[in-house]
Subunit: 328 residues, 2 copies
């Protein structure tokens, strides 16, 4: 690594056994064949090559920074997303300028402007402000929320995930289902978790109940809801799909406090695929978001040529993982 | 926020009711009285003021970026550290350029050079490379590892924490203690967790066993160790201090698989203060690292005038939290 400053694209091309133009494409985020991509990346890593940022900025009038705007890094879904985005950007010779908003509308807007001022070459964001103004001319990719025409939205298959959760509960013998949700009341892709759940219940002719609580409402609203549905030690529901793993975690704790057993009396499925310590056990049975693939797609989209037509929504398939809160 | 671009330091000074020079100091990370600091920060937040980065860079020949170099964001200690650092830097009108190394020596060095090339105004890092070369003239703060003279190292009170863990186990009735550790074999501040543990055991005249396994050794080494110390369903130890919460989590799982009860048969204390979903229950009884205070101190140090003398090690006190794996 001692000489990494003096290593050039030519050295990388020689090491990888590819043409100089191929290295240039990879470094600038232009797609090449998978084998070539990997060979160039390996050579870059081996030689410790990195692009001279001043030279790049001079050529392009943009830095190789990508502004990444997220609510926080305490929620494991966001921290895993940030982890994958950062490593994927590094792989593509870009750096991550991170902004955390706590979902505050004003901060979301301020960081958009700040990203523009810092001459980022793209923005990847997960925001809630419905009136967010996106800087013109900066490729922007949104996660879980449509920000309008020309801006790609990347999400997991929320509808399919909601539907899968209902079917898994039914396969495990549940006959009285409930869907619980908390989160932003503003329309976003994650709303489809409920739609998919309802569709699967309706198709199967199984009764269901939906309890959605807006952001800002304390969790005690769910405690009251569950208590109101407890009769003679028996809950009205034997299967609950929660819109996030965090909510599933809290609901499980509440049910245990109410003297109910999970999964014997009530089975629970969450959504996200959060794991203890980042990559140990799942907290609960869950619909797993493909965070690594979502991050890779976000980076692909934000670095790709602006000339291409961009789909408005890109959904990535989810999977189910049993994690102790269901009978499977 | 619509007019945030045109808001000046003068507006902030008027809103805060302070002199222009006070605002300038706060924005540039120069210490002022606490009341003034808070009033200026509140005004900055209320008005959505942000520094013009080009103007700042022109004046100072440095950006307002701080390079933050961490292993990953999957481990909850690192993600919480990154969360706190990012918000603290924003408060002080700086932006976080994040690099993730997976503790790879070459990447740690490459990101140091890259931070220099990006003209960062400071570096905050948690690294393992003993031969890391630090760019000259860039204020650098290290976490948990001494990087040499002139570079402040911020850490929790690892010695005090190890000692506290041993004392808590003894207070809870443990008479045969063990310390388990995995991690880097290179000297670093976290080694003192063991030293503090040994000191407390020695002072109390209680026997102890230390089992330290180097990085790269699979966890199964601990399984073999625990199995070798199980005789007729009874473990040689009734109290175990693990150097991290992650290790405590795994050890607890292993003990349960061996038919032992936690905390009835064996009590466990971890280190870090990791919480489920970032801020729900502790995973286990634990020595809590004051991550927010550590992050604030790192930012204070990296932004402060270089003229001051810098202590080589700054330790912040830890606390104990009961989390179900001990009898208290």
């Amino acid at each position: 690594m001692a000489d990494s400053k003096s290593i050039t694209m030519k050295d990388v091309a020689r090491e990888a056994g590819v043409a100089l133009g191929t290295v240039s494409k990879v470094v600038n985020g232009i797609p090449v064949g998978k084998t070539y991509q990997r060979r160039v990346e390996d050579a870059i890593e081996k030689l410790g090559y990195h692009v001279n940022p001043q030279a790049r900025a001079l050529r392009s009038s943009r830095s190789n920074f990508i502004g990444v705007i997220l609510p926080n890094l305490r929620n494991p879904f966001f921290s895993r997303l940030a982890d994958c985005l950062c490593r994927e950007l590094s792989h593509r010779s870009h750096e991550m300028l991170l902004f955390l908003t706590e979902s505050n509308f004003d901060l979301e807007q301020a960081y958009m402007l700040m990203s523009e001022q810092q001459m980022v070459s793209g923005i990847i964001c997960l925001t809630y402000n419905p009136e967010l103004r996106i800087p013109k001319g900066i490729p922007t990719v949104s996660i879980d929320r449509s920000l309008g025409p020309g801006i790609a939205c990347v999400a997991s298959d929320n509808f399919g995930g909601g539907s899968l959760a209902a079917r898994k509960l039914m396969e495990n013998g549940c006959k009285r289902l409930a869907f619980l949700r908390t989160g932003s009341s503003l329309p976003n892709e994650t709303d489809k978790r409920r739609d998919g759940f309802i569709r699967a219940c309706t198709d199967a002719g199984i009764p269901y109940h939906c309890e959605c609580v807006d952001d800002g409402t304390p969790y005690s609203a769910f405690e009251a809801f569950l208590a109101a549905h407890l009769h003679d030690g028996r809950l009205d529901f034997d299967g609950i799909f929660c819109a996030t793993d965090l909510l599933a975690y809290k609901v499980r704790r509440t049910l245990l406090q109410m003297g109910l057993r999970v999964p014997e009396d009530v089975q629970i499925i969450g959504y996200d695929g959060a794991q203890c310590f980042g990559d140990e056990d799942y907290y609960c049975s869950t619909i797993v978001q493909p965070v690594e693939e979502m991050a890779r797609l976000c980076v692909d989209l934000v670095l790709q040529s602006r000339a291409r037509s961009i789909p408005c929504l890109l959904q990535i398939p989810v999977t189910y993982a049993s994690g102790g809160s269901t009978r499977d």
